[in-house]
């Protein structure tokens, strides 16, 4: 049986699943799921076949929704998803990640939780909030959120997380202790421009093809690390803006990265011209990819988790906008097509390839 390709879209009002085949030329959309909850991150574990949607309802609080039948039926749980008596209330689930058979959730106010039973129950990874800097963590415009969970590809004890606006943190002991990983990253809104922590990192990604290489889209620029985050090199030159949210690292080429620069004030693509920018040389130079994207009066914004790639060759690239449009490229950004419109504001986009 041919592969089934699912595009998992988290929005301000529920989650949506679009479906195609390996050709990815035509997409069908199902009815929304997760009861119109705001879903910050909708993802899949292709090994188990489970779908996971993390978010938070203004009425009913934070939870992770899970489905074992590719989205036909859903359950939600927040058992253990709290900081205990006296701790702050968890407002929402911002991000989901998988490592070593476990499911991780990043939340607001920033913290990390882990589940060993596919999201039915959760345990706080206390070491992160015990970092000595935690009392000084300040929120970004979107809240104090743990938005990026980046597991090491081969060492289950290692993980990086990114918090806006506390910076990037790393563990080598399964989360018991953490260290900062922000050297070389600007924080223009601080009196000290290169502080140890407090950077407003917007998106942290690892290069699947090269362990030790990381990239980040920050409020103040784009960066690459070749030493697992110990130091960062700025690679913003050539981009129209320091500011942006999403970032995609090519699944098979550690030197190829996609970003979507945004106007710092409007938080939409500059000059009303939609564009995705691509580097093929780890950030030394950037290309502006616009074919098939609207070039007039297109003040489109894309949030941090609303862009992704699939694992086909050439890789498909996808992004969703705050005004409910979905765009896709089947040729690594050379050309684009709009595949959906009129969705609620899009908060996240992920791809799951289900082999037949």
């Amino acid at each position: 049986m041919a592969a089934k390709v699912l595009l998992l879209v988290g929005t301000k009002k529920g989650a949506f699943i679009l479906e195609s085949d390996a050709d990815r030329g035509r997409w069908g959309m199902r009815d929304p799921v997760c009861d119109a909850w705001p879903i910050n991150h909708f993802t899949a574990d292709t090994e188990s076949g489970y779908l996971y949607a993390g978010g938070g309802s203004e009425w009913y609080g934070p939870a992770v929704w899970r489905s074992g039948d590719l989205g036909k039926t859903w359950q939600q749980s927040s058992e253990g998803l709290n900081y205990g008596e006296g701790g702050p209330d968890v407002k929402t689930v911002w991000s989901l990640g998988r490592s070593n058979g476990h499911l991780y959730a990043g939340v607001e106010p920033a913290g990390l939780f882990v589940s060993a039973d596919r999201g039915a129950s959760w345990e706080h990874v206390q070491g992160l909030r015990e970092h000595p800097s935690s009392s000084e963590w300040m929120p970004g415009g979107g809240g104090l959120c743990l938005h990026s969970i980046v597991p090491h590809p081969t060492d289950a004890r290692q993980m990086w997380v990114a918090i806006s606006a506390a910076g990037t943190f790393h563990t080598e002991d399964g989360g018991a202790s953490w260290t900062t990983r922000n050297r070389g990253v600007r924080a223009e809104f601080q009196p000290e421009k290169y502080p140890e922590f407090g950077q407003c990192v917007h998106n942290l990604q690892a290069a699947p093809a090269q362990p030790g290489r990381l990239y980040q889209q920050n409020h103040c620029g784009v960066y690459r690390s070749d030493d697992a985050g110990a130091t960062w090199i700025e690679i913003t030159e050539g981009l129209p803006s320091d500011f942006g949210f999403p970032m995609i690292v090519h699944p098979g080429d550690a030197d190829t990265v996609f970003v979507i620069p945004l106007d710092d004030l409007g938080r939409y693509m500059p000059k009303g011209q939609a564009a995705v920018w691509r580097t093929r040389n780890a950030g030394k130079t950037w290309e502006c990819m616009t074919q098939g994207l609207p070039q007039q009066n297109a003040y489109l914004g894309v949030l941090r988790q609303a862009a992704t790639s699939d694992t086909f060759d050439p890789a498909g690239i996808y992004f969703g906008t705050g005004t409910g449009q979905l765009f896709a490229s089947r040729d690594e950004g050379d050309s684009w097509q709009q595949i959906a419109d009129y969705l609620p504001p899009i908060l996240s986009v992920e791809v799951a390839v289900i082999e037949g």
Binding site: E58, W59, Y60, G61, A63, E79, D89, V90
Partner: protein
């Protein structure tokens, strides 16, 4: 025993989509635990970690808005209603 009415938006999150229940409780806080015992996870949907009712959830006891500390007389009617302030 008190009678509690649940909103549809909460009911459909749980098996059986319960809209109404009769449970033993002497106060609203105890009622939340009884709801949780009957439908695991329901207390988390209604209460913060300190036991207070979530900001955009209203609990009415015999027609009067109540907190988690409110006492419940035998036969009280409790209505749980999402507040319009939640969106």
């Amino acid at each position: 025993m008190v009678e509690v009415y649940l909103p549809d938006s909460l009911a459909r999150l749980f098996p059986g989509r319960p809209r109404r229940a009769t449970l033993p409780a002497g106060c609203v806080a105890e009622l939340m635990w009884q709801l949780d015992a009957t439908w695991p996870g329901m207390r988390d949907r209604l209460c913060l970690s300190n036991g207070a009712i979530r900001r955009h959830i209203n609990v009415f006891v015999d027609g009067d808005r109540a907190t988690h500390e409110a006492e419940l007389r035998p036969g009280a009617v409790v209505q749980i209603i999402p507040a319009i302030s939640g969106g």
